[in-house]
Chain length 200, copies 2
Amino acid sequence: MKGKITRKHIVEMADRLFYQRGYEHTSLADIADFVQISKGNFYYHFKSKDEILAAVIQLRLENTRNMLMQWEDEGEKPEDRIKSFIHILITNQVDIKMYGCPVGTLCTELTKLNHASKAEANELLTLFRTWLSRQFVLLGLEADADELALHLLARSQGVATLAQAFQDEEFIKHEVEQMCDWLSCKASARQPAHETGVGP
Amino acid sequence: MKGKITRKHIVEMADRLFYQRGYEHTSLADIADFVQISKGNFYYHFKSKDEILAAVIQLRLENTRNMLMQWEDEGEKPEDRIKSFIHILITNQVDIKMYGCPVGTLCTELTKLNHASKAEANELLTLFRTWLSRQFVLLGLEADADELALHLLARSQGVATLAQAFQDEEFIKHEVEQMCDWLSCKASARQPAHETGVGP
């Protein structure tokens, strides 16, 4: 049991360091120092940084799935759930202004490194894409659901990149409002066709 | 003269490597190997990777200024010039799908590293921001010019991030069309007020 807790603790600390400093810049020794356990205990759990990265990505996938399920439980309408996605830019703005989006920046870095785990990291983006797409389907926008999901995901990524560069809270707030307006517009646009039974 | 050419060649090669592999992942030895000159000659020009990074950022700033001037010369109307900006996503899509946006990914990486040159790298984004903002002013959208510039810059960054993750050309094309539609909509929306003299 204690070993399991230690392992989880290492992965959580590595997750934080990879996010804050970047994967390449974080050494195995940095993680061991940060976790504050003996080198022996540390290396019992993980032999390489790649192994830790794989565990970090699994942890993030698990956390993301839980977050998406929570948004689904909390939001009665698909529009509310999509708004929960849009609002993470505000909820996490302190971190985002310092380190960017944890998902986008990891995917970008691993793709540049041509790292063996890049496909697994991209799965994180795919989780959001698939989930958003499903919400747009529920909203009655089947035909464009994936396109709308990608569009919103891209806007959210772009806001995170500029938030980190310009450190501008007003900008984040304004863009979040614009995304919510865009969503309302999309949600109401499909209603006439839906209600009058026009279309396929 | 020969020394100047060699120096410029080193900076261009480093620029390419930093873009393709990331700054942190590229060593001074990698650059020296890539340039294929003697170590002595190489170290005569640059003593550290930080020095090369500073020169790379200066080169990028210079190239960006030239590109913006060219767009300004080529595009008669501000709307055409802004379209030149939007279309770099298509012009450079082969590189973008592999390595993301050269500006956005460098700024993100240096901010995470808390690197001394991060402010200089952010100047690259500021160049685009200021230039786009000026075009929106010329378009008659003074009141929101900076906001519109940031919005477009964010959308462009987001498309680059997802293009790298999903390798999807159709997505890039579709988003570029949407940005052009958005621009036309903004450009025509201001005309009534402008032409009838309504507003401040």
